[in-house]
């Protein structure tokens, strides 16, 4: 756009200045950056940097700085004095380094609020680079008005800005030097402003840094020593929170173990010498893991402790590939660390022999497999360093076996193991005084460090969640484990609700009522909603009618959430950070306060509601003639369940207009679906279960059943897809750089290799994965007349080969990458569920601006902001799905338990299908319960044929029986409680064709 205009200068223009560079600033003026291009070329970039004189020191009585406008000086004249070691007459202030933030955050937030703390900006920058959650906590600490925490912008202010890297100096040393500058600055600055400064004490757990500080005449102390010198109740309260011993950071044999410092890692990743990716621990085998790296079609395999090099599931790691001749296939054995490592001593770090043997055996096995089936071999590597830890608080059980008999009653501090709920995590070593009391509790544990010389990470106890298997503890631990924010909505958020509360109604249709501005009056349309039974948050409603020209008008009406939730207010920020409503079996954790979700926004029947409508003119064969978008007022005529709508549609006696419009919608939906299938849309499958709870009092569910799909489910689905696609096109056109879209990338073909091979060898079937259409067609052909469930099973397995769909800002990828593979649509977004998904709220705002109803909030014009918001939503979405699944699993477990009670062997017998074979067992899927389980053979009496995915098991009469992937078997399922961890475990034994008892 270009325009010629005369700018009206009415309001005051702020002062505009041109920065001048002093000659002496020149060495500070530029930072060098290396950056790798998409083609792998390494470019050097320069970034400019200015240094300033106008940044205040924060001391409340400073005469030099008090003229800087608009800031609150938080550092008091007298420092903290209640310390037995630091007894200067003016008290003291603390200056903290980055490692203290990274490792002692729980302690920092528990320090007395009167203790003044100076945080150099170097620390803030490093923390942001290393851990976003800790950066956020640090920011909260700084902004907390009850504390005296002051940021010293050391790199920004001229006196303390550091020149480039000195000779032989690594980044860490440079940052430490920058932090020490701060301690030199304050006494000098305050003496110039005629004040005596309190003592400045550097808090650091790095011995070298302390030595350097002492040499420069500064005071430095370790966290442990500092807390030890605090007085009275404060000391007692804080002692347990200090993380780790002192000075554990300098391992002796870094070089020998190929552990590189941060800088070498960064350079290595940039130059392509190392690969970077998130570490994925293997659920079945604790000695293996994989890392998916950008630009590699297959994940990089890590075998053994040395190769995994203390990575924890989710960490961002740097990996070095081994030479090709050392590449391996993933192990084909189940290795459960609870069993393999049960004898490990908490204090010692010598591994039990059994593990060493296992590791050795496994290596031999993999060598064999490598020869036999070369295509299973994966690029294999070793972790050379951790780029970013992704640690959080983990829900754990105390491992009873790690406590000695005496310790069971002792109240002294002792070291014990905590076993995380998640199988992908290692056991955590922690020190506590309360071990006996925590034995049958679920507890929350933070990992603090993992030293090079240790097999286990060290952590500390945060709090107890409650008794194992109590509903409250299970629910809370599930929410914590999947990081679901579940605290009640605060006052600031509730203040954003309409002040009329639940008596709010759509005002009368009058020009002076703003609600009616530019809104279409659709109250007379025969609109209805169709949802699952008991649905309270009704996002969507529909209508259809025949037009005089023979075409059909169809409308999708969505709750007008953005009318109530305004950008950037506390309610919006909370919804943005929640990202989605989370559905657990017995609880719903709302994204928006209940008043909106289940009432004011919900498109309930028989009342007027505000809506955002998509209205199409469709030809009789369901082709779009045109589409428009409008804000509207509707009055739903009925809220159907899927079943009720189906019944009404099928009842030939009914001839009323509402029923007819459901029939019309249905006939269109059938054509829309046919069109999508023809274009290559996939119909995938993941087991969806429904849990019947018999009453709210008891935790035991009555029963589990698979969800039924009706025609009306598909009716609603088709129209929601159509609305989402139409809206996606519109907002992409209006905001090509920042439109909120959703995409599903085509899976790499290699993802299907294993499934293709299994199908070929077991069933002689081929899976064509050349396109989504080819895949859909060949999935349709995967039919075994003897096994009706076979097709569903293959679909479930194929679904697991897919990538996850994700939200993205349209400017962040090229237009060719917008596509949604599963839906076979070239563009897609989410518009239809704004009550329970935050992305939809953003899409509503963009659509509203695209039709000139409201201006677009500036945050939705910023690529960076959109991407950041969508990263959060993507993460929340993924975790919410995992939480729902875990909740179903918990109830399936309870259902099983109640059904096993009273049976002779405390087990339920079910049909299952083999989905994987291991050298020492089988993985089976019980489709009726949506449950996956392992059957392990302890003895080596069977033959394993990994190439043909089968196991030959001896029968009691001396013969042998073959069991292969896809075979139908019968299993006994029981629940056993692990005596050590109190963890309830599903145990399966094979009953047919051969009993696995004794194998």
């Amino acid at each position: 756009m270009a325009a010629t205009a005369t700018a009206a200068s009415t309001s005051a223009i702020p002062e505009i200045t041109i920065l001048k560079r002093h000659r002496e600033d020149l060495p500070l003026a530029q930072n060098k950056f290396l950056k790798k291009t998409a083609k792998g070329k390494v470019l050097q970039f320069l970034r400019e940097r200015y240094v300033r004189d106008d940044i205040p020191c924060g001391f409340s009585a400073c005469a030099l700085c008090n003229e800087f406008p608009g800031y609150r000086a938080v550092l008091p004249q007298r420092g903290y004095a209640r310390h037995s070691k630091f007894t200067g007459k003016n008290g003291h202030w603390l200056v903290i380094d980055t490692n203290v933030v990274l490792h002692q955050m729980d302690l920092l937030t528990a320090l007395p609020p009167q203790l003044p703390i100076i945080v150099p900006s170097t620390v803030i920058r490093e923390t942001r680079h290393r851990s976003l959650p800790l950066f956020n906590r640090l920011q909260q600490l700084v902004l907390d008005e009850d504390r005296c925490v002051w940021v010293w912008w050391n790199e920004e202010r001229r006196e303390t800005a550091t020149f480039g890297v000195e000779e032989n100096e690594v980044v860490n040393d440079r940052n430490d030097r920058a932090i020490r500058q701060t301690l030199h600055f304050y006494p000098k600055h305050l003496s110039e402003s005629a004040h005596e400064a309190p003592d400045l004490i550097l808090l650091t757990d790095d011995r070298r840094n302390r030595e350097l500080a002492n040499a420069e005449g500064l005071i430095a102390t370790s966290t442990r020593d500092y807390v030890d010198g605090l007085q009275g109740e404060v000391r007692d309260r804080l002692v347990d929170l200090v993380v780790g011993g002192v000075d554990e950071r300098e391992p002796t044999d870094r070089r020998a173990r190929r552990i590189y410092d941060e800088e070498t890692l960064n350079v290595g990743v940039k130059s392509g010498r190392f690969l970077q990716g998130h570490f994925n621990a293997d659920q079945y085998n604790y000695l293996e893991g994989t890392v998916r790296c950008h630009g590699m079609s297959k994940p990089v395999l890590l075998v053994g402790r040395q190769a995994m090099n203390r990575s924890v599931d989710g960490d961002l790691v740097a990996v070095e590939l081994l030479p090709k001749e050392e590449w391996k296939a993933p192990g084909d054995e189940v290795l459960d660390q609870d069993i393999a490592l049960k004898d490990d001593d908490v204090e010692g770090d010598e591994g039990a022999d059994s593990e060493a043997i296992k590791e050795k055996e496994e290596r031999m096995d993999t060598a064999e497999v490598t020869k036999k089936a070369p295509k299973e071999v994966l690029p294999t590597g070793r972790v050379v360093g951790i780029m970013k830890r992704n640690w959080r608080a983990y829900v754990c059980h105390i491992d009873r076996s790690s406590l000695s008999e005496a310790a069971l009653t002792s109240l002294s501090q002792q070291t014990i193991f905590a076993t995380p709920l998640s199988r992908a995590l290692p056991r955590i070593r922690l020190r506590t005084r309360q071990a006996p009391a925590l034995l049958d509790q679920k507890i929350l544990v933070n990992i603090d460090s993992w030293s090079v010389n240790s097999r286990y990470p060290d952590g500390h106890f945060v709090r107890a969640l409650g008794k194992v298997e109590s509903k409250e503890a299970e629910q809370e631990s599930l929410l914590l484990e999947y990081e679901v924010p579940y605290r009640p909505f605060g006052k600031a958020i509730l203040n954003c609700l309409p002040k009329e509360g639940d008596s709010w109604v759509v005002p009368e249709k009058k020009p002076e009522n703003l609600e009616w501005r530019d809104r279409e009056d659709l109250r007379d349309l025969l609109i209805c909603s169709i949802d699952p039974p008991g649905c309270q948050d009704i996002d969507d409603a529909l209508h259809a009618r025949v037009l005089p020209n023979g075409n059909i008008e169809a409308g999708v009406h969505i709750a007008d959430v953005s009318h109530f939730v305004h950008a950037d207010n506390p309610m919006d920020s909370e919804a943005a950070s929640r990202g989605t409503t989370v559905y657990l079996v017995d609880k719903r954790i709302d994204m928006l306060p209940e008043l909106l979700g289940t009432n004011l926004c919900s498109l309930r029947p028989f009342v007027e509601r505000l809506a955002f409508s998509v209205i199409w003119e469709l030809s009789p064969d369901a082709k779009i003639v045109n589409v428009r978008f409008t804000k509207s007022v509707i009055a739903s005529k009925e809220a159907f369940t899927y079943a009720a709508a189906q019944q009404r549609k099928d009842d030939k006696a009914l001839k009323d207009p509402l029923t007819d419009s459901i029939r019309l919608l249905n006939s269109l939906a059938i054509k829309l679906k046919a069109g999508r299938i023809a274009a290559g849309a996939l119909s995938l499958s993941s087991p969806e279960l429904k849990i019947h709870l018999n009453s709210t009092e008891s935790t035991a569910p009555i029963d589990v059943e698979q969800k039924e799909q009706l025609e009306t489910n598909s009716l609603v689905e088709e129209f929601m897809l159509l609305a989402n696609i139409s809206v996606a096109r519109k907002i992409q056109e209006a905001y090509p750089a920042t439109a909120v879209l959703r995409r599903h990338a085509p899976p790499p073909k290699t993802n299907f290799e294993a499934l293709q091979d299994i199908l070929q060898k077991r069933k002689g079937m081929t899976l064509d994965v050349s396109s989504s259409k080819a895949l859909a067609d060949s999935l349709d052909l995967c039919i075994d007349p003897e096994l009706p469930e076979f097709n569903t099973l293959v679909r479930i397995m194929a679904t697991r080969c897919m990538l996850a769909a994700e939200y993205f800002g349209s400017g962040s990828v090229s237009k060719e990458a917008y596509g949604h593979y599963g839906l076979a649509s070239e563009i897609y977004t989410h518009f239809t569920s704004p009550i329970r998904r935050y992305a939809d709220v953003l899409v509503h705002r963009q659509l509203s601006a695209a039709i000139n109803y409201t201006p677009l909030h500036p945050t939705l014009q910023s690529k960076q902001h959109v991407e950041r918001a969508l990263n959060v939503v993507n993460k929340r979405h993924r975790l919410a799905q995992m939480a729902s699944r875990a909740s179903v699993e918990f109830y399936v477990g309870l259902a099983l338990k109640s059904r096993t009670e009273g049976t002779t062997n405390n087990a339920v017998r079910e049909e299952a299908f083999v989905i994987r074979t291991f050298r020492n067992g089988l993985a089976v899927f019980v489709s009726k319960l949506g449950l996956e389980g392992l059957i392990t053979f302890k003895h080596d009496t069977h033959e394993f044929d990994p190439e043909n995915y089968l196991i030959n098991v001896p029968t009691p009469n001396g013969g042998s029986k073959q069991i292969a992937v896809f075979d139908r078997v019968k299993v006994d399922i029981s629940i056993e409680k692990d005596p050590n961890t109190q963890r309830g475990k599903v145990v399966m034994t094979l009953v047919e064709p051969v009993s696995s008892v004794g194998l």
């Binding site: 756009m1 270009a2 325009a3 010629t4 205009a5 005369t6 700018a7 009206a8 200068s9 309001s11 223009i13 702020p14 002062e15 505009i16 200045t17 041109i18 920065l19 001048k20 560079r21 530029q30 470019l43 050097q44 970039f45 320069l46 970034r47 400019e48 940097r49 200015y50 240094v51 300033r52 940044i55 900006s121 803030i124 942001r128 680079h129 976003l132 920011q139 700084v142 940021v151 912008w153 920004e156 960064n266 209006a734 905001y735 750089a737 920042t738 201006p855 677009l856 500036p858 945050t859 014009q861 910023s862 690529k863 960076q864 902001h865």
Partner: protein
């Protein structure tokens, strides 16, 4: 690596500037002896040199207008200029757009009717790129035209204005430019007239007006600097001429 923080807790940008602070500015006149007029402008790490040839006979007669001079703009980037400019050839679309924007900016400002049937060629060379290529180029062209003695209505000065959430900020560096909606404003500061307002994203009209006003104000600040540089040079030239005139008088 974590992404750029546009404004940190202290309200500072990634290079420690505040929102309304422009990058350091260096101006030099007549760096190229072969052109009729030339100038080099450095703003932060962006450096652009402009050379003016003419008014002279049009290279293609057909292009000549009988009542005024035609303005031709060519834009090039040296291969070692980093960042957004990258190594681009003369035919690159983005460079053609920059060339067109420069021509559009100056055509109504140069008193072209004073030079009928002639051509004024402006060559723009981007020597280093760290954001704001177009505004820096416009500033350099203004000085080069003045250096060449071509009559204009007023100085044309230009600046980029970005919007981060609700905060407008001036003179964006390359990393900021790639993250923020950006408006390039060129104005005649004397009259407040805007000759160019270019952007690639839709912005709400209220924000647009605010950014435009801010841009025009920044243009006046730039003009003062440029005027000072021109005056200083004129003084120097006059001094030198006076000295040589004295010398010449002695010889007589």
């Amino acid at each position: 690596m974590s992404r750029l923080e546009i404004l940190n807790l202290a309200g500072l940008r990634h290079d420690n500037r505040r929102p309304y602070e422009l990058r350091s500015l260096a101006l030099s006149l007549s760096p190229s002896p072969t052109a009729d007029g030339s100038a080099q402008v450095t703003q932060g790490l962006t450096t652009v040199q402009a050379s003016v040839f003419g008014p002279r006979e049009p290279r293609q007669r057909a292009a000549a207008a009988h009542d005024k001079a035609s303005v031709v703009v060519e834009v090039g980037v040296v291969p070692w200029a980093q960042g957004q400019g990258g190594s681009r050839s003369r035919g690159d679309k983005r460079l053609l757009e920059i060339g067109a924007a420069i021509r559009q900016t100056f055509e109504p400002v140069i008193l072209t009717h004073l030079y009928p049937r002639s051509e004024i060629t402006v060559q723009v060379q981007v020597l280093a790129a760290d954001g704001g290529i177009l505004p820096t180029a416009i500033n350099a062209v203004t000085l080069a035209l003045i250096d060449a003695g071509i009559s204009m209505l007023d100085y044309v000065t230009a600046v980029s204005v970005g919007l981060h959430l609700k905060q407008a900020m001036l003179d964006l560096s390359a990393p900021e430019e790639s993250d923020l909606p950006t408006l390039v404003v060129a104005a005649l500061p004397e009259s407040g007239r805007v000759t160019l307002a270019q952007m690639e994203t839709r912005l709400h009209v209220d924000r647009f007006e605010e950014m435009l006003r801010l841009g025009v104000a920044a243009c006046s600040v730039l003009k003062e600097e440029m005027e000072a540089a021109v005056k200083q040079r004129t003084t120097r030239v006059v001094e030198r001429m006076a000295i040589s005139a004295k010398g010449a008088a002695k010889d007589d």
